[in-house]
């Protein structure tokens, strides 16, 4: 008969080997983050994703779970990211009439703005003495996660650093779109949505759907086009 503490330890070990624990923790942190966000009066500067991510990291640390093991388990959730990206095609189709009306400004803005989103960050970091690995992790900061992972690997960056950069970029892009569209008196939700998706990927797009379905569709478009464009251009530019 083994002692209770020993059995507790081996229980934790067995549980953390199954994806159920990782999924349960992630879902729990997701709901707790949303709940806390609503309780705090929905502050724009602290979106639920940050709250949830901090809670989740703290829980993993407190339970002293192995981070790599958590990742393996959570892979089950990450697999859904692919179909979720496909799902963005549906609002895109539903809002096609709005998008058609603006195709010219969209096609002119996109290449320049998406390139600059990467260039500004890389130049600033390079000026402050960042290593090539860090630069390669920052370059795809405005690109949606499933594409950005591929880009960063190809450029030789760190995926965890890139994901952290993605999170911060999404959050501050949401804040800046709000702030600057107020200052520039831009009330057109199509422009705000497009800027949210182009600069703030999935986090900006989630915010755009809160504004309106039209803003959400423009954000999906901005996110999709930025992802495709950056994936094609960045590896070419970076190797020069």
């Amino acid at each position: 008969m083994t002692e209770l503490p020993e059995r507790l330890l081996s229980m934790m070990d067995t549980l953390s080997a199954s994806p159920a624990l990782a999924i349960g923790l992630t879902l729990g942190a997701f709901f707790a983050g949303n709940w806390g966000f609503a309780r705090m009066g929905r502050p724009l500067w602290l979106p639920p994703v940050v709250l949830s991510a901090v809670l989740l990291s703290a829980t993993i640390a407190v339970l002293s779970l192995d981070y790599a093991r958590y990742q393996d388990g959570a892979e089950w959730l990450r697999v859904l990211l692919g179909p979720a990206t496909v799902a963005l095609g549906i609002p895109l189709y539903q809002q096609m009439h709005h998008i058609r009306a603006l195709w010219r400004p969209i096609l002119c803005t996109l290449p320049l703005a998406a390139t600059l989103a990467a260039v500004y960050a890389v130049v600033i970091a390079w000026g402050l003495g960042a290593t090539p690995e860090v630069l390669a992790s920052l370059a795809p900061k405005s690109v949606t996660a499933p594409i950005a992972i591929g880009i960063t690997k190809e450029l030789g960056g760190s995926v965890p650093l890139m994901m952290g950069g993605l999170l911060i970029t999404g959050v501050v892009a949401t804040l800046f779109v709000d702030l600057l569209s107020g200052l520039l008196s831009i009330s057109d939700e199509r422009i705000r949505g497009f800027a949210l998706g182009l600069n703030g990927h999935a986090i900006g797009t989630a915010r755009a759907f809160e504004i309106s379905p039209t803003a959400g569709a423009f954000a999906s478009l901005g996110m999709g086009l930025t992802g495709v464009f950056t994936a094609l251009i960045l590896p070419l530019v970076f190797h020069l």
Binding site: L116, L128, I151, A173
Partner: protein
């Protein structure tokens, strides 16, 4: 059940996107290729079924949940990038500020130019 049927369609389009990516060695994710294929298909067939709409709404509303596992990684690799945080922080904050400003100004300017030229036609 209807939602699952919609989910099956999304998964099939994702697999299609992945297949195209692998066969043509494209640097774009299967999800985005699938999204493009989905939009084109809907434009041809001309309608979204209820099952597809409910499955996509469900997934879009939990988009943030799906990136969380990746996001928490940064807290566990933080010490690897000591001395780089000022550069990282400045690049993310200032860089994003500038790129948002660029996007908004460009769109505002181009849309206004577009409506003006239309008025002149």
């Amino acid at each position: 059940m209807p939602m699952l049927r919609g989910f099956l369609i999304l998964v099939l389009f994702f697999l299609l996107g992945e297949a195209v990516r692998l066969v043509f060695l494209l640097p774009v994710s299967g999800g985005v290729l699938g999204m493009m294929a989905m939009t084109l298909t809907l434009m041809v067939t001309g309608g979204v079924s209820e099952e597809l709409a409910s499955a996509s709404q469900g997934l879009i509303s939990v988009l943030v949940l799906l990136i969380m596992p990746g996001v928490v990684g940064v807290f566990f690799t933080a010490d690897q990038f000591q001395g780089q945080w000022l550069a990282v922080g400045a690049a993310l904050l200032v860089g994003t500020f500038l790129s948002v400003l660029t996007t908004l100004l460009l769109m505002k300017f181009l849309i206004r130019a577009g409506t003006r030229s239309q008025a002149n036609d």
